[in-house]
């Protein structure tokens, strides 16, 4: 992992720490109240705040996760150099695409 990826990994971790805490609170709230899909979507749809919150969360998680996958693959597999970069970019693209689709589904 080069210095740029290392800093990006740590920066996205720092961004996500409060977002994960907030997400855990949301999970606790929704599950303890037994909210239905209609009730959940009634709260999130049309909300710019939730869209920004989860949009940022998804992008930070996709970046953090992709770099993490690269680190693990470099230590646990024989992949090297461009193969690792391709794996990282692929993982990041899949996470970002599916995550942003989910944000659109829940907030638009």
């Amino acid at each position: 992992m080069n210095v740029r990826l290392y800093i990006l990994q740590r920066a996205t971790a720092a961004v996500m720490a409060p977002l994960v805490l907030a997400h855990l609170v949301v999970i606790f709230y929704a599950t303890s109240r037994g909210l239905s899909a209609v009730e959940i979507l009634g709260r999130t749809r049309g909300s710019v705040g939730w869209a920004l919150f989860y949009g940022l969360f998804v992008l930070a998680a996709a970046t953090h996760g992709a770099i993490g996958v690269r680190v693990v693959a470099s230590e646990w597999t024989g992949l090297r150099g461009r193969q690792l970069d391709a794996l990282m970019l692929g993982a990041g693209a899949i996470l970002a695409a599916l995550g942003l689709r989910a944000v659109v589904a829940v907030t638009l």
């Binding site: 740590r10 971790a13 720092a14 996500m16 720490a17 994960v20 805490l21 997400h23 855990l24 999970i27 606790f28 599950t31 303890s32 239905s36 899909a37 209609v38 959940i40 979507l41 998804v58 998680a61 996760g65 993490g68 996958v69 693990v72 993982a91 899949i94 996470l95 599916l98 995550g99 689709r101 989910a102 659109v104 589904a105 829940v106």
Partner: protein
């Protein structure tokens, strides 16, 4: 100068700090695998609330609740373990790392159990 023996090169694996590293690594891998599935499930809302509601009814199953409890633990322990790493790397060294690592595991386990008790 000799090569370290296998025993001495793996002796650290009994340490709580090595276990903390392992838990952080494995929870990160598990979250990377789970996250696309989580996103796909939420994406069901694109096809209408009924599909998402069907999914939410399915996750009311006790076995799925148990799996969710594990996921809450993984998310909490990965976050707390990551915060410990950030503190070690960016703030002055403080003693008691083993206690901090144990506390991270304990708090994550508590969060998962409380989640399960409220959701069940």
């Amino acid at each position: 100068m000799g090569h370290p023996t296998r025993q001495s090169s793996t002796a650290h694996r009994g340490s709580i700090l090595w276990i903390a590293f392992l838990v952080h690594r494995l929870s990160g891998v598990a979250l990377a695998v789970f996250l696309p599935l989580h996103f796909l499930a939420l994406g069901l809302a694109i096809d209408g609330e009924a599909r998402l509601d069907g999914f939410l009814r399915w996750i009311a199953n006790p076995l799925v609740k148990l799996a969710e409890m594990v996921l809450v633990f993984l998310l909490a322990v990965h976050m707390l373990g990551g915060m410990r790493v950030l503190v070690i790397e960016n703030l002055p060294w403080r003693d008691g790392q083993k206690r901090i690592a144990t506390a991270a595991l304990a708090v994550a386990a508590l969060a998962a159990v409380v989640f399960f008790a409220r959701a069940a």
